[in-house]
C-alpha cells in the first residue's frame, strides 16, 4: 500500500521534488567556493610547522636533543595510535592484547625516529600554508595544502596535511611530501613484513625493534663523530 503510494506521486509533486533536489545540490556546489577553507586547521598547521622549523634551526642541538624536541612535537600533535592501526590493514585484528600494547609503544618510537630523521634534511627554509579543504562527509577531517620554500632558489616542496578533529583539537594523521603519504608507505612495509612471515605478528615487532636499535646506533655514531671532530679541532 505505502509502496504504491510512494511510487506514483503526481507529476506536479514529482517536478517539485526534482526542482528541490536540483536547488539543494546547486547550493552545495556553490558553497565550497566560499566555505571550503578551514582557518583553524590552517592555523594549527602553521603552528606545528613553525615549531618544527624552530627545532631544525637550533644550532647547538645534539642529535639526542633534536630527537627529544621532535618527540614532544610529534606525540603531542599526531594521532599516533591511529597511524599505527592504519599501518596494519586487516592484520589489526590479529595481535594479542600484550602485542597491541607493545606495538603501539614501538610504533610511537619508530615514527619519532623516522619523521625526525627525514625532517632533519630540511634546512634553510620557509613555510607557507596555501589552502585547505574538508575531507569526508562528517566534517571531521581536513586536508591542508602548504609548501616549503627555500631561500636557495630550489623549487618549493609541496606538503599536504591530513588532519583529524578530535576532542583535544586537531591531530595530524598523515603528511604528504613530494607526492608521498608517509602513513601509506608505512602501511605497505608493515603489511609486507607480516605477510612475508606467514602472518606472524611478532615478526613485525622484531623488525621494528631492530630498526629502532639501528637508528639509536646511527645517532650515537653521529654524536661520537661530532665529538671527535670537536676534539681534533681543539687540539690543533
Amino acid at each position: 500500500m505505502t509502496l504504491q503510494l510512494w511510487r506514483s506521486p503526481s507529476p506536479a509533486v514529482r517536478n517539485a521534488i526534482i526542482g528541490l533536489v536540483v536547488l539543494v545540490s546547486l547550493a552545495f556546489i556553490a558553497m565550497p567556493a566560499s566555505a571550503a577553507r578551514d582557518e583553524s586547521a590552517e592555523a594549527f598547521v602553521n603552528e606545528v610547522a613553525s615549531e618544527a622549523i624552530e627545532i631544525l634551526g637550533q644550532d647547538g642541538f645534539t642529535p639526542q636533543e633534536l630527537e627529544a624536541a621532535f618527540r614532544i612535537l610529534f606525540v603531542g600533535n599526531m594521532d599516533v595510535p591511529r597511524i599505527g592501526l592504519f599501518a596494519l590493514g586487516q592484520y589489526a585484528r590479529t595481535p594479542t592484547a600484550e602485542q597491541k600494547a607493545e606495538y603501539l609503544a614501538l610504533v610511537e618510537e619508530f615514527i619519532v625516529k623516522v619523521y625526525a630523521s627525514r625532517l632533519s634534511d630540511y634546512t634553510d627554509q620557509q613555510f607557507a600554508v596555501l589552502s585547505s579543504q574538508p575531507k569526508g562527509s562528517r566534517g571531521k577531517e581536513v586536508i591542508v595544502s602548504s609548501q616549503i620554500e627555500f631561500t636557495t632558489g630550489r623549487a618549493p616542496v609541496p606538503v599536504e596535511w591530513w588532519l583529524l578533529k578530535t576532542d583535544e583539537g586537531y591531530k595530524v594523521f598523515d603528511v604528504k611530501v613530494l607526492g608521498i603519504w608517509m602513513a601509506q608507505e608505512q602501511r605497505s612495509t608493515f603489511i609486507s613484513v607480516i605477510r612475508n612471515n606467514g602472518g606472524d605478528f611478532s615478526s613485525l615487532l622484531e623488525h621494528i625493534k631492530t630498526q629502532i636499535a639501528q637508528a639509536n646506533q646511527d645517532r650515537d655514531v653521529k654524536v661520537t663523530e661530532a665529538d671527535a671532530a670537536v676534539a681534533t679541532e681543539s687540539t690543533q
Binding site: 630523521s117 601509506q184 609486507s192 605477510r195 637508528a215
Partner: protein, 264 residues
C-alpha cells in the same frame, strides 16, 4: 632476429616480462581462509613478488658495484652548475615526448608550457643547457605515455620490478616503449650506432642517481622493508604525477573510525 621496430632493449624487456608472467605461477597465493592475508595480498597487487624481489636485489647489487660509485664520482667531480646543465639539457631533449603526451591528454595549457620551454631553453638557454624558462613562468613538468594511459583509464596492473629499469608495471612498461616512438632521437639514430641514445640513457640514470644519493639512503635506513617501501613510493609518486600533483581527496581511504577490530 629483432622485429624491425623492436629496439634491442625493448624486446629484451618484453622477453623478461613474459618470463616473469610464466614464473608467476610459483608465487604463493594466501589461503583463502586467512582474510587478513588475502587482503594484504590483494593490496600489494604483487603476484610475482619473489621474482620481483630477486630483480630488486640484482639491481641493488648493480647499484653498489656500478651505478652508485659512478653517481658519487659524477656528483663529487662536477660542479653544481655543470650538473644542472646536464639535467637541463636532458630535460630539454625530452620535450617532444612530454609535448606529445600533453596533447594526448588534452592538457593544452601544459602543452603550451612545454612548447614555450623548448623554444626559450633551446635559444636563450643555449641548446638547453640553461633553464631560463622556469624563471619566465614556464615551470617544468613531466609527462609520459604511462600517465597518458592512466588518464585514459588504464589501470597500473600488477607490480613488476624490472632488471636495470626498476619499477615498471605493465602500463608504465608499455608507456616506456611507446615514448621511444615519440622521441625524435629514435628516428635520427634509427639505423646508426646507438652510442648517443645509450649515452643519454646512462647519463640520465647517473644524474638521477646522483640527485637521490641521500634520499635513497634515508629511505633504506628508515624502512623495515626496503623493497615494499620502494613499491609504495613508486606507486604513490606515479599516482601523484598522473594527478599532476593535485590530491584526489575522494581516493583517500576512510580513517575516521578504524580500531583493532575493524575490517579496514
Amino acid at each position: 632476429m629483432n622485429i624491425e621496430f623492436g629496439r634491442n632493449s625493448l624486446s629484451s624487456m618484453v622477453a623478461v616480462f613474459g618470463l616473469a608472467v610464466i614464473l608467476s605461477g610459483c608465487a604463493t597465493r594466501p589461503d583463502t581462509a586467512d582474510a587478513a592475508a588475502v587482503a594484504a595480498y590483494e593490496e600489494a597487487n604483487d603476484p610475482i613478488e619473489p621474482l620481483n624481489r630477486y630483480f630488486f636485489e640484482l639491481n641493488n647489487f648493480l647499484d653498489i658495484i656500478l651505478l652508485r660509485p659512478s653517481a658519487e664520482i659524477y656528483d663529487g667531480v662536477l660542479p653544481t652548475i655543470a650538473k644542472d646543465g646536464v639535467r637541463n639539457f636532458l630535460d630539454n631533449l625530452r620535450s617532444p615526448v612530454i609535448l606529445a603526451n600533453d596533447l594526448l591528454q588534452g592538457e593544452w595549457d601544459r602543452a603550451g608550457d612545454t612548447t614555450a620551454r623548448f623554444g626559450i631553453n633551446t635559444t636563450a638557454g643555449v641548446l638547453g643547457l640553461g633553464d631560463p624558462a622556469t624563471g619566465w613562468g614556464y615551470a617544468r613538468h613531466g609527462e609520459d605515455f604511462g600517465q597518458t594511459l592512466a588518464v585514459y583509464g588504464v589501470g597500473e596492473g600488477p607490480y613488476f620490478y624490472a632488471p636495470v629499469l626498476g619499477p615498471a608495471p605493465p602500463r608504465d612498461l608499455a608507456g616506456f616503449g611507446v615514448d621511444l616512438f615519440f622521441d625524435p632521437l629514435t628516428y635520427i639514430f634509427w639505423d646508426k650506432a646507438y652510442t648517443i641514445p645509450v649515452t643519454r640513457f646512462v647519463l640520465n640514470g647517473i644524474d638521477l642517481r646522483a640527485r637521490n644519493l641521500d634520499t635513497l639512503d634515508e629511505i633504506e635506513r628508515t624502512s623495515i622493508d626496503y623493497y615494499a617501501a620502494i613499491r609504495s613510493l613508486y606507486r604513490q609518486s606515479r599516482a601523484d604525477e598522473i594527478q599532476n600533483g593535485v590530491t584526489d581527496i575522494e581516493a583517500l581511504p576512510d580513517i575516521s573510525n578504524i580500531d583493532f577490530t575493524s575490517h579496514e
